[in-house]
Assembly symmetry: C2
Homo-oligomer: 185 residues x 2
DNA sequence: CTTAAATCCTACTAGATTAGTCTGGATAGC
DNA sequence: GCTATCCAGACTAATCTAGTAGGATTTAAG
């Protein structure tokens, strides 16, 4: 049930881009991103290309180029990224809502495995489709501030060509607030 | 996030064995099992071997041989089977309780992805570690009876060498009752 | 003792996926 | 024109996937 590294790195990159945007740096260079997450540069480049083709990020070429989110973080549920990188979230094909596949069992209506796995699927999508990048960023930044950790992407020499768009759209989706507040990590 | 066919087939085989046991047929032949679930016989054989090595089933050789559960179904949580066949349930290594792996990110304590995936992991294990084969069987049989479907493995010519052990241990773990009762499949 | 029915065991395979690396081209700023 | 950056594709070694094939061994029955 583990994600591939590609999927994991894609998520980390997207979260980083969202954090950077929130902190006033909408554009991040590939090497900056790779360094921040400590990922192999060329592999990450491949992943960013994939994310670009999926419409998740925009790439700006040339000197002082980089990547930025193609949409506001609040409109990107994590599940959308996962589905793009890893395919359907359901553990078996016959419980997938977005990519149903008939299974070989003789009677789907009375299949115990199916009933159980439908539960699992719903648990997974209930989290990944509800929480957006903005939610993840909010929780992360709050925790960092509370613990006095210096925020990433803040005091580095801000590069030019940053679209001036700032100020988040008033936390529309804050179900997460009570859930993720106090994880003891 | 999909299971491999091997994992899926293993689960279906285990559930079938548990149902058969509940219905008075503790021992199932490989071909019988394969036919019931409509799986490739030789592939299933490999899987049963794997399950045997994991201590989940016992194999009886020779004529009228077959496979049976090595433990009572109520003592086999589904998650144990999945972990044996597919490895850890956690979507990323750094949130696995049973197979933790340090990740390359600079600060695990303030990693938004980690917090989110811990949620996912807990949702998955909360289901798969709580529900046993016996729970799955109970739900399946109840639904079959309610819908007037004929039970599998019932009126076939019972083969010899069946351990006479019958009568289940009074449904110890029935949290599932309210959850899985009325899925509209 | 022989045979049939079954599990047990090992090896093999074609194709896909994984986790990357390498090389070069296009573009934008100075 | 130089340089930093993204863009695009090919390449690879290792592993995984979903099986298939063939024979050895064990047991029940005639």
């Amino acid at each position: 049930m583990k994600f591939s590294k590609k999927t994991e790195y894609a998520l980390r990159a997207m979260i980083d881009l969202a954090i950077a945007h929130e902190v006033g740096r909408p554009l991040l260079g590939l090497s900056e991103l790779a360094e921040s997450e400590r990922l192999p540069v060329k592999f990450l480049e491949q992943i960013l290309k994939d994310l670009k083709q999926g419409g998740f990020v925009l790439g700006l070429r040339g000197k002082f180029g980089g990547y930025q989110l193609a949409e506001p973080a609040a409109r990107i549920p994590v599940g959308r990224i996962v589905r793009h990188m890893a395919g359907p979230l359901a553990p078996i094909g016959c419980v997938s809502q977005t990519a149903y596949e008939k299974c070989s069992c003789p009677d789907e209506a009375h299949c115990g495995l199916r009933m159980l796995m439908l539960d699992v699927r719903n648990a997974i999508t209930g989290i990944l489709d509800r929480y957006t990048l903005a939610d993840v960023v909010e929780v992360t930044l709050r925790k960092m501030r509370r613990n006095g950790v210096s925020l990433p992407f803040s005091n580095k020499s801000a590069r030019t060509r940053s679209s001036p768009q700032r100020g988040r759209a008033s936390a529309s989706d804050t179900i997460i607030r009570d859930l993720l507040t106090d994880y003891s990590i």
